[in-house]
Amino acid sequence: MDDEPIVRWYWIGDHLGYLGNLLADHAVIALVPVLIGLLLAVPLGLACARFPRLYQPLSAVFNIVYALPSLAVFVVLIPYTGLATQATVMFPLTFYALAVLLPTTVDGLRAVPDSVRQAATAMGYGPWHRLTAVELPAAVPYLIAGLRVAAVSSISLASVGALVGRGGLGYLFVDGFQRTFPTPIVAGITLIAVLALAVDLLLVAARRLLAPWAVREQGAGS
């Protein structure tokens, strides 16, 4: 170890194409689940806002889902989805994303001031129409804040998939560790951080575009 530098630049130079492929694979594995999570969270969130009794049990379930260790879930899924398949990693990641996005969606829908809700009703919006035309657009900043958390976590978590054979850039960690060669590990950490940062910036830009009226950052979960 003593004579091994943290980064051997030539290795990176020699493997640019390889790194690019891993990066693309990683982006798909990590971000498609977030998109699916969003597509599920919006209708579920609307239903929870319309029928508040639904929310308590759902949020309890997703609280537990969020507590499940990713590695354990990947492993448990292998008999069903197969070793080293995208599905093994993407399926749990979808649920993690949903666990983050459902509460933020519901919070956002609920954060609309009561006066706005009443004004809408008084102008002749029915309950569903009001939810989709008034409360949902007003919840966009919350949704985006939730997406930022979900996307960054997903990008970081996806690398654990390498332990079950499909982790995008996470493979670099396994590879580097097995060969006691830190360069791929450093490259992997860096690329994951860069991917997360890029996605985050993209979402910030999306918020500016979609919700220019949201002055302050709203509803990010810790």
Binding site: A67, V75, V152, G176, F177, I189, I192, D200, S222
Partner: protein
């Protein structure tokens, strides 16, 4: 082979009943590692967060850093730390602390900043010093937020500590990794189940703590919101 068979195999294996690979031993290893990481993270993040929240300086920087820290892949940090520092608790503690510190830091900052400014003002007005205001006024009112932060951090650390086994350390991850390496799914699934139970147990513990250990005034206030 179905799940139940796996689990009964796992729990009836004599190796898992006593000795270094016993369930009790692995659980205690897991909890020790998680507890240590949380302790260091708390010692680092909570005072800093309280101070930043109270002065209001550097809040944006802290929030941005905490967000960025979420992007750091624990597996990457663990493997790198072991390659650089050798196998040992310290090598794994560092990534776990990096995992636990951001939610704690953000919770402390947000909690203190969430104190009603009028209450803070009044406390200053009746003659409390800054440190008294921070400890006697802001800290209790930040308690619910702080507790929520601890919950997030604990659950994440317990779940992620599993990864430590990959670089040769103990804990429940041993079952998961070893089972995977030897194609013994019974062992893997049993280990995974235990981690899930620990994490859910931690969730319940914090939910109960929030319900019964918070100052009554703060609890009521929280419900009102």
């Amino acid at each position: 082979m179905n799940w139940l068979n796996w689990l009964s195999d796992f729990f009836s294996d004599p190796d898992h009943r006593s000795g270094p690979d016993s369930i009790l031993h692995r659980v205690s290893e897991h909890l020790t590692l998680s507890g240590e990481a949380l302790l260091y993270a708390a010692l680092l993040a909570v005072p800093l967060g309280l101070l930043i929240g109270y002065t209001g300086r550097g809040v944006n920087v802290v929030t941005a850093l905490a967000g960025a820290a979420r992007a750091l892949p624990t597996l990457g940090l663990v493997t790198l730390a072991v390659l650089l520092a050798g196998v040992g608790d310290t090598a794994v503690l560092f990534p776990l602390v990096a995992l636990a510190a951001p939610p704690l830091l953000v919770a402390a900052v947000e909690g203190v900043r969430g104190t009603d400014p009028d209450v803070r003002d009044a406390a200053r007005g009746i003659g409390l010093t800054h440190s008294q205001v921070l400890l006697q006024v802001c800290l209790p009112s930040a308690a619910p937020t702080l507790l929520a932060g601890f919950r997030t951090a604990t659950v994440q650390v317990i779940a992620t500590a599993t990864v430590a086994a990959y670089v040769g350390l103990g804990g429940l991850g041993r079952y998961v990794i070893d089972g995977l390496a030897t194609r013994q799914y019974a062992v893997t699934v049993g280990g995974a189940l235990l981690v899930v139970l620990l994490a859910v147990g931690a969730q319940l513990f914090f939910a109960l703590l929030a319900r019964f250990a918070l100052p009554p005034g703060v609890r009521a206030q929280r419900r009102a919101r």
